[in-house]
Symmetry: D2
Subunit: 321 residues, 4 copies
Amino acid sequence: MGKQDIGHPLSHFFPHLQGFCDLMVEEVDPERIGVGVDVVICSTPDRVGMLYGKQILDRGASLIDFSGDFRFRDPSAYAAYAGFHPKTAGLPHAAPELLSQTTYGLPELFREQIRQAKLVGNPGCFAVAAILGLIPAVKEHLIALDSIVCDGKTGISGAGKKPSALHHFPERNENVAAYRIAQHQHSVEIEEMLSQVAGQRLSLTFVPHLIPITRGIICTAYAKLSKKNTIQDIQEIYTHFYAGEPFVRMQAPGTCAGLKSVNGSNFCDISLTLDARNNRLVIVAWIDNLMKGQAGIALQNLNIMFDFPEKTGLDRPAFYP
Amino acid sequence: MGKQDIGHPLSHFFPHLQGFCDLMVEEVDPERIGVGVDVVICSTPDRVGMLYGKQILDRGASLIDFSGDFRFRDPSAYAAYAGFHPKTAGLPHAAPELLSQTTYGLPELFREQIRQAKLVGNPGCFAVAAILGLIPAVKEHLIALDSIVCDGKTGISGAGKKPSALHHFPERNENVAAYRIAQHQHSVEIEEMLSQVAGQRLSLTFVPHLIPITRGIICTAYAKLSKKNTIQDIQEIYTHFYAGEPFVRMQAPGTCAGLKSVNGSNFCDISLTLDARNNRLVIVAWIDNLMKGQAGIALQNLNIMFDFPEKTGLDRPAFYP
Amino acid sequence: MGKQDIGHPLSHFFPHLQGFCDLMVEEVDPERIGVGVDVVICSTPDRVGMLYGKQILDRGASLIDFSGDFRFRDPSAYAAYAGFHPKTAGLPHAAPELLSQTTYGLPELFREQIRQAKLVGNPGCFAVAAILGLIPAVKEHLIALDSIVCDGKTGISGAGKKPSALHHFPERNENVAAYRIAQHQHSVEIEEMLSQVAGQRLSLTFVPHLIPITRGIICTAYAKLSKKNTIQDIQEIYTHFYAGEPFVRMQAPGTCAGLKSVNGSNFCDISLTLDARNNRLVIVAWIDNLMKGQAGIALQNLNIMFDFPEKTGLDRPAFYP
Amino acid sequence: MGKQDIGHPLSHFFPHLQGFCDLMVEEVDPERIGVGVDVVICSTPDRVGMLYGKQILDRGASLIDFSGDFRFRDPSAYAAYAGFHPKTAGLPHAAPELLSQTTYGLPELFREQIRQAKLVGNPGCFAVAAILGLIPAVKEHLIALDSIVCDGKTGISGAGKKPSALHHFPERNENVAAYRIAQHQHSVEIEEMLSQVAGQRLSLTFVPHLIPITRGIICTAYAKLSKKNTIQDIQEIYTHFYAGEPFVRMQAPGTCAGLKSVNGSNFCDISLTLDARNNRLVIVAWIDNLMKGQAGIALQNLNIMFDFPEKTGLDRPAFYP
């Protein structure tokens, strides 16, 4: 929402909410933000949450921020991230003193830290799919760390609600394009988190593509096997790793049902294929970018932070067809 | 067209051809096929062209076949190709004696051979994009040959006109899925042709994805640089290699306009990006799968075979928007 | 589902149901159908439900049938309906003795009858939108009954899950066509129900159009005013008529938010515009064809039949974006 | 194009034109506009062409204007048109002295006048489809003039290239909405031209709908027959009326192939159905809104004005699939 939207009910902009949520859009009031609430969710662009973080936390509220502001404990990682996007490049973090308290909001990696956290940086949409697809392979040293390539495909809602020439219907319909080739800022958080998992620095090539759909991200990752392995063994390692995870579902090897198995839900589905001819593992991971890639995982984090059952509000299948 | 379509004009099935092409669909008559014509084009599934090839050539006509039947001179390459698809796996070639005469219909590689050819195997749609994207890098040994990954995205028309559950509108709309992961039969021709270019056997991992658009293929290839190189040098090598090619256009490094720059035309657009952090080259190549990926390249081949100006019938820009 | 699907779990065909519904597809067993259950829902083509209706009811179960088999109490109305579609034309009803017991499953018209009913004919998707849009105008004699035109637009899921040349992705994408022009079988039920509302026979022209979307129906109805009236008065009549209805929402005059306000929900949204220059009322009504137009209204009917709160399982907003 | 685009080649904004049209975008220079050229085409918003019309004509050039500025000879008709759109409402025409010289650029109605014209107002996209669909019926008094309803459906390119919240991809994809219900400015030109055809004033209700496609308009018109008539007779009247027209194709009664028969071409296809039950004629007319609805008809007009063969540059079938 922008300044011009203040004073209208949310349902004015989102007609589907008519009768469900008619809250008014209000101006941000620094005096009131975080007062008398348990949690603030900043679904705002980069560099907004960092302006209010201290106040919110000082007032005793928790903060879940959707931007990249609080995804990194290491200020140099934030600088690397910011450097990848023209809107943030070169700008220093406005609240560096908070970074040591933040937790990366990926429950599959940091559930216990999230449970204790007052400040959570909700992950980037591509990062969720890429990281979940790669964690077990990286953790168990199944793949050569310098051989990882991630090819991402995203629906247009990932670009937000603000109109632009690039996302104008006639421009995107019946079109596919790669963008920010090997320069997308989510690369930084993918590498940061997987490096923690690996116990050593790794980097990878990530190329996102715009697809003419509203929702969904599918991330196809490729890596050389570091040692001989069967698909059965690799599948078992993944299955074991994600056992008990409420929102990650391993698929049968070599199969990919596609976005319709997850869109509208909080699931991440993962499919493994062994390309034996090339000694390469292919990992396909797919999510709804607005659910497991944004609001869904935020709610999952909130449930964990406040000790609600983790599936609260999220226990439903995808929207089909 | 199928048996049930015989006796109706083509414009009955393709209403846009009303007034342009009202030829009747006729039954295939082995007595007449290739009689009194200069060229026969078989836009038929695998294993149809091979049944008629000998007759057609014996009667003095040339043959351009759209399937995989005549893409390989080496019978073992055909066997490898056939083995990748359930419909052809294990079936021997029905006219192996013709294979030594065939030419792979990619003018950018085999223009002089096509000029002399009576029998041309028109390339697979994915193969055109992947091969054109990779030729200069492979030929000039810019990349490590065991590091190549191709991630393909295709519109649904690539699957042909026959309805199926997989390509039913509600199933594909707002959906993206990987399929035949590392098992697509076009891998074989990509590897075969690039191996010829390299002067040594290479193989690569190719994963196609179904995108909810009618037309277009975009192929994103990734490979490690074999030696230090600048993007300027690589761009120049490509530009030089494709200088004079009427239907390959190099794009500015790091940019990808997307399918709308090629759909409806016979162009292949190619974009290069150097991921210096990872010492990896990213090549994005895109075509209209029904033009440069099928009928357009067939016409280009026909023009070459019959010594017509190569752009005849193809000298037009893409359809926009 | 068809015969070939027997023995597989539903989630095999609907991957989004993995972990939510893994029931096996079973063969229809006339000995078991309706035994030990409260209600049977036949989501089957025309002329299937009528084969099992008597058994189901005799065994004490209720039946909600999704086809046209039980939408009419009057056998001649059924004959008219059946006559509109090539697959049913000329075939007599197989269970005419049940027709007198059936209730048309539109709660806004027949809630009390549904409450008592054992046999409910769930309405046709277009019919729900057209009838709900027109009831108050017809009932209050606001419009000339011989002047009604309905222009319907539907997503492709309305055609079911079975693939066909007409609904093949490349055929429908970037395409719009009118079909069964003034000959769609839903016309019969629209006319039948509105005639009951009017207290006199009426008929209207209905033309459906195929739109390249998965879900949603929008029905634009036009009629001459029978007497002078203001938009305020007409709006008030509608608002009053639908007051208390849980799933009909009147929109501000002259506004139409479009399908995204209803898709995924059980709502029917209705917008009124007075074209004073032409003394004509324009009524736009829109629904999700698979919810209020099919499964949603069936669940609403079930809730009424079994005295559950009417919104059970349906109390949620549309899916956005 | 806007001010910010000056100094870049057209192919920068339209990558498909690379190598075909690399003309630079220049600033409008009142001193130069119309100097040394035969014709100026203003593909500009309302109220731009009227600022330059006099200069262009005074300098001896012809003018084809794409906006509503020169569609009406009658200033009151222009005022009515302008009044229908918030951006033009209440503004007087800036060059009323030119109106008496203008010709409405619909060749099927005004071919001879266009041949003599120096100033042509290119028609509105919806108007082309609606008028062509209705001319013969109105001219031959087949229908009751007070009973006409037009239901229009348009692709999003009709809204131009400028991004807006309404035409943002995620907002329009999988969405359909009616807009400017009975208030669209094209109503005025439809009524104006058909009144001339009828020889008496008529008015009608027109409701446009936004469809998630890039191109194409389909207009479904409904009217009561003024006297008994058979579909054969009506079809013959239409066929006779459009005999010799190069870009109007009558379809078999009751059939509608849909937009794919026209998109990319300059054709208008028309289908007639008699709804005998309701004594109503249903006329479906469809065009490519950017061709017969804009640039194509402009080129047709230019060909007529300059005595080129009328099909020059337009003699090609639709783009399929």
